[in-house]
């Protein structure tokens, strides 16, 4: 069985934000909720690098470990999804997440949090695949259609890779060997408890 992962090649990422708008487009994510974002370090200086960030669908996901209502569940492909009907918007997962992935719509006038929203790896949620209610709650379910997340599929420079961890790691390794440099699979050690030696 495949273990689906994300890998962002920081030497390719140009911070064009295609992944961000592709995600918004595919999942009709509302203003203010960012399932994916691009982070830049050393902005405007030599050494500037950007990386596209979303839920990494961690191994032994810390969000799941802290959730008081156990709304998270893992899929056979290694994805970490959640059930919005169970979520109480407590925000624990946000504190537990090393990547800042969980997002919350604000409800009411006192800063109250709504149900948590995050990247689903374009795999929808616990509702029936590609049903209207699944789409309304979680967005697209591309995986059920045999496709990968749109952010990675549309990445302008093919920096963001999605798919089976071993395959994307092989693509990345080949790339690094060919060009002679690579800053590593950022976030892999944290998310997947393994680095990527090249």
């Amino acid at each position: 069985m495949a273990r689906l992962k994300f890998l962002c090649d920081a030497d390719r990422c140009i911070e064009c934000n295609a992944c961000v708008t592709a995600c918004k487009n595919e999942n009709e994510v509302p203003w203010g909720i960012n399932r994916r974002r691009v982070v830049t370090i050393n902005d405007g200086k030599p050494g500037e690098r950007s990386i596209s960030m979303a839920c990494m669908h961690c191994t032994d996901a810390p969000c799941a470990a802290v959730c008081p209502v156990s709304c998270f569940y893992g899929t056979a492909d290694g994805l970490v999804l959640h059930d919005k009907d169970l979520c109480i918007g407590c925000g624990y997962c946000f504190y537990a997440c090393p990547f800042g992935a969980p997002q919350y719509p604000r409800v009411g006038n006192f800063g109250g949090r709504g149900k948590m929203d995050k990247c689903t790896y374009c795999a929808g949620g616990p509702q029936a695949d590609n049903s209207a209610v699944e789409y309304a709650q979680y967005g697209a379910n591309r995986l059920a259609e045999g496709k990968l997340p749109l952010c990675a599929e549309m990445c302008s420079t093919k920096a963001l890779l999605a798919g089976d961890g071993e395959i994307i790691a092989a693509i990345y390794k080949e790339r690094v060997q060919r060009r002679g440099y690579g800053s590593g699979a950022w976030g892999w050690r944290t998310a997947y408890k393994e680095g990527l030696a090249v």
Binding site: N25, E28, W31, K45, E48
Partner: protein
Amino acid sequence: MLIKRSEGHAARQRLASVHQGFSPGGLDRRGFLRQAGLGGAGLAALGGIGPGAVRPAAAGPTNFGAPIERRKNVCTHCSVGCTVIAEVQEGVWVGQEPAWESPINRGTHCAKGASVREIPHGDRRLKYPLKLVGGEWRRIGWDQALDEIAAKLLEIRERSTPEAVFWLGSAKFTNEAAYLFRKLGAFWGTNNTDHQARICHSTTVAGVANTWGYGAMTNSYNDIRNARTIAIMGGNPAEAHPIAMQHVLIGKEQNRAHLIVIDPRFTRTAAHATEHVRIRPGTDIPVIWGILWHIFQNGWEDKEFIRQRVYGMEDVRKEVEKWNPEEVQRVSGVPGEQLKRVAQIFATQKPSTLVWCMGSTQKTVGTANVRAYSILLLATGNVGAPGTGANIFRGHTNVQGATDMGLDVSTLPAYYGLDENAWRHWCRVWEVDYDWMLRRFVSEKLMQTPGIPSTRWFDAVLLPRDQIEQPTNCKAMVVMGHGGNTVTRMPEMVKGLEALELLVIADPHPTTYAQVSNRRDGTYALPACTSFECSGSRAASNRSLQWGDKVVDPVFESRNDYDIMYALAQRLGFAGEMFKNIEVRDGAVSAESILREINRGAWALGFTGQSPERLKLHMANQEHFDVTTLRGREGTPVAGETYCLPWPCWGTPEMKHPGTHILYNTNLHVKEGGGTFRARFGVERNGETLLAEDSWSKGSEIQGGYPEFTVAVLKRLGWFDELTATEKEVIARVGGDAPDRVSWSTDLSGGIIRVAMEHGCLPYGNGKARANAWNLPDPVPVHREPIYTPRTDLIPDASQVAVMQASNGKVAAPAGTYPTMPDRRGYRVPHLGLSVQMRSHQVARDFPIILTSGRLVEYEGGGEETRSNKWLAELQQDMFVEINPRDAEARGIRAKDWVWVTGPESNSRARVKALVTERVGPGVAFMPFHFGGWFMGEDRRRFYPPGTDPIVLGESANTVTTYGYDPVTFMQETKVTLCQIRSA
């Protein structure tokens, strides 16, 4: 701290209130989204969907049973030409899928391309025709709007001649619409027809065409994969052409290529470079000459290439000698050692390509800049082969095509110019009588005189009548698909707007034109649909003509460009003649029939072999093209042809020319897309030949240079009788009493081209490229300081200028100074140079910071469309100025502070946020040019037609940009002026 322009989270409070205030009432789609995001209360009513819902049940493919149709169109946001695949269900665009089969984008998009589905969904579009009555926008019907507009235009025509109307078209037009708009101008009786190419690459077109024949990208985005050295100067593709960066980065990785970025800013592209050369803005020529100095000094030039294919390189050598490393460093700030390294890499690690963009072209020396770039390529033998070339990245979907279609003040379609021969040629194509056409104009002289460029239309409105070389000032303007914040000197532009009797805006969005002035009447806003609601061909930067299918019908009451022009031409009384050979059914114009008419006339450009059928075949077989060579694979319906038949695609569609991937490539047969430099400038000058020596394209029967083909040339070669009887008959009809003078470009049968190709010859001849272009103001490019320069030591003082001017050009400028051109005239208006430059001496002290401008990845052009797109607007919510920490500290400015940027003309000022960053060097500031809706500190949201205001508004960079025009094309100077910045 605002170290990035966007920090990944939305400023929800502030913008949400904006959303609320200006959205129509009721629970519309956006209203719902807003409440879904902001309040739980509204959701309770929806029962089944829990509060976690992120979208309304009404949008998207909720009915998975209904069939989904896939339609292909082309992204409208830059010139790379990314295929967009739209999934359409029951007439609604419900999804966007990666276009894996496109050899250009291979499935990918940038932020703009990945969000284009929002465009036909956008509820901030113009929905129905509007008219400004006493300062208030009122809804009217199409018929009323067009009747009133036509009546007013005809009245102005009667009273003030046709030259009083300025027709401003668009680079977002399809080729067919651009051609139609130019034709509309001609049938109206004026050459005052222009579009965005004026302000993006007009100088490239002029400079490069004057060097080797055609003013376009010589290779392609894909071909950059073959380069071993990629130099990018005055361009930032990581933001402006992100998909081009895919090819750049893959080329860099596969070949371990050098990526040299020469730019005043450390751009996002520079972040991926192997070498960044920071220059003072406006010193491109000293830098290029500085590179060439090392090349000549070390003998790294390609001597054989120069001997065979270049004219006048010796004159360049003389100019380059002046630019020793010390002088280059004094003027540009670049150390000699660094340039030596760059020179050695560029000249020896071949193939090398030079990429440029608006950082090079939008200058008072734009034409000279691109000439210098071209000369660098010629000197190193880097033209006409894979991995080499002038890879000029243009800016809009179809700015290349709109330029090709002559949507310009100085030429008819396909660069035929405006002389009598050109008019007679196109009249023959249009099947109208030349004398009838002549009567549409005030005079034959004005018919052959270039019109007023879009950069100066407001001068043509405001200047005293005696300074304008046409019968009257401009009194009306018809604008289709063109932003109002894209020209410099906006405070004066606004005055021009207010002085117009009639202003017609046809656009999906109201644009800056609709709100920036205090007009109260005589203004119409017509909802034109977007490119995605309209079929037709679009020329990407690499000259490939991609056919885009209409994705959905025009939304709201909007209409496509063709139909609007047809309806207007009908009311103006010349639709019968203008649409004589164009198919129109119930007011709906057929794009295919327009392209066929273009095919019948655009011989000089090789825009003739690309029939709609061939283009559609290519779009249907995208997956069969190689990603590097763009050639169709054997055994497929497109075998051997280049993707979407980049011009020149010689002869008729039946001749099956494969299109030209790489211009001037002598290693291929002309029938396979090979070429030579165009013999466009005669055969000899001062005893020196202008024809190629010992160089010819593969398979040519003439082994050496030759002039362009005419009937006379065919006769001399003994090839005349290879023409068929039909071809001879057409030629006799074209030639009248002088059939020998019919050339390959006026022969409507295509016979001359066919015969030339049969013998392996290029119809346009085999000439030398010109390092010395004697017809330009600076035949060999020379450095000239920007009009507003902080380096007053590099320009003469006022008394020296007085002596220079009194001597009538005999006294040269003092050594070590680089003055701009003297005052002159052009394009019917005055063109000031030195007299304005002398103001630098007064203002440089109070305005010590160089201001430059450029693109952001999230927005495009004037920005109305993209700032109305909620997915893009969220990413970039504030207009800003980049300022170096040193300058910020000296002014007590902290990151995110509001600041005033003031300019040295018209008391101009702009209130923007400060982005303190080392991306710009000390003494340099940068502003993006996509913003509008604020003007000199005033939020003008209330002046937009209700419900059409973009989500994000901001000050326009061009509010503070200043005077300064290229002498050849009147390109505006947007890249170097002066400003002051202080806390607001």
